[in-house]
Amino acid sequence: MFDIFSDIFACRENVFTRIDPRVKMVPAIALILSVVLSSKVYFPLTVLAFCLSAMLMVGMPIRLALLRIAGPMGIVAVLVVLQAFLSGSTPLFTLDFLSWKLTATEEGLRRGILIGSRVLGAVSVMLLFSSVTPAYKIFNALRWFRVPEGWVEIALLVYRYTFSLLDQTSDVITAQSTRLGYSSVGKSLSSMGVLAGTVITRSMDQAMRTYEAMTLRGYEGSMHFAPLPGLKATDIRNLAIVLPLILTVFMLMERYA
């Protein structure tokens, strides 16, 4: 679990990481919105294919890309089943489940697949976006979109310390499991309570030390951020190309595919 938690790809040099995060954010949101609005599976699936190949292109191992998409895949499967059995009217096939008969419907299945494709498409956009943009850049960019600075300040601190707390947490888990703290359900429970307590007290200790360190460098209750640089003309030009492109592809696929 903790292993997936890494933003090393986002810190590599490539075409995508060089783009200003504010500029990346706009098409990402546009993509997600149009995926969610789409009424046919083609557009979401195109987006999924595009994002997956882009992820591979920026050097993410296939295994990791699949691992990241595995969770949503599970949800998709559930969704398809849920929709197939719980909505629609045209019977497709019937299952004997214990003593009951369950009927899957065509509309339900369709709808399930549509929603499933939306999930995969939208999630893959998120994943691509996060694997080419470090979270701190996203948070900083959010200031430009008028997200309150207090929120950004908290988010940046959370982001920073999550990594070091994770290391400590995994050390505590290591120590517990080598002393057989997870060898039965009961023990796991109490070990986990202790773990949660340890993580929280650690985090509070860290908070006090961090606050001390911040004071030493002149902190007086709120952070001073660097001014955001102005948008470049090329960025705006690129946006002017990409956004209509997304829109056109979306429209075409909705209408003709």
Partner: protein, 281 residues
Amino acid sequence: MYLPKKYSSQSLKPGDKMSIRFLERGTATAFIQKGPPRMLIPALTTAAVLIVLASGPAHAMHISEGILPVPWALFWFALSTPFLILGLRNLNARSKSEPHLKAMVALVGSAVFIISCMPIPVPTAGTCSHPCGTGMAAILIGPTLTVLVASVALVLQALFLAHGGLTTLGADIFSMGVAGAFTGYGVFFLLRKLGLSWFVAAFAAGLISDWATYGATSLALAAALHSDGSFSTMFWSIIVAFVPTQVPLGILEGFITAGAYSFIHTRRPEYLGMLAKGEAR
């Protein structure tokens, strides 16, 4: 404000076309006449499916990106934004007199985030799932700040783990942050007022906040997904489907919250005082 029509028609009439399709056998028809059990069968089905698909429940606490239609996404955003603003106001107001507050809130936030990533075994389903940690956070830093922290954690989870997402952020903030935090805090506060021990109160806070989160998530999911079917069938199916994981998970979360709280209570009581300012203890 856009509100889908069927949102208000929550009750399912006996003999509803939809549920009958599942109950062709005579033995089962008896259920149709009564109340909630008529949801049993679709629910059991979904439960079975969910249990088979181990990753489903693990991620199900957050609504995945792409599930909510745009109007619903906006609706949930509108619902949770006031709470976020409240949290930010609270933060800014308090951090003048308590300059360490921001660091504290942020670090408790990362702790909660990490705890919510801890895989915990769910005995009944034979799978792993994750606690929410919002009940814990609510006891420690209060509900409004918890909403704030949950929103940050959700954004990070959406970015790093593909749990939840951008369009569903509003709904997720509502279920994790608002529903989880306020109920957890309320229960803790109430039980302490009633003179129960803090262990019981913390346990209940963890349990109730977990269940409230799950209730709110099911509500949002059902509202978005029921399409031409009935809202309440969908809602109860989802509820019942999650029962095998969420009931034990809620209890586990209760234990973890109580364990963690007693850990802090015995080792570092000064922090409890520092954060809650004696409110809930």
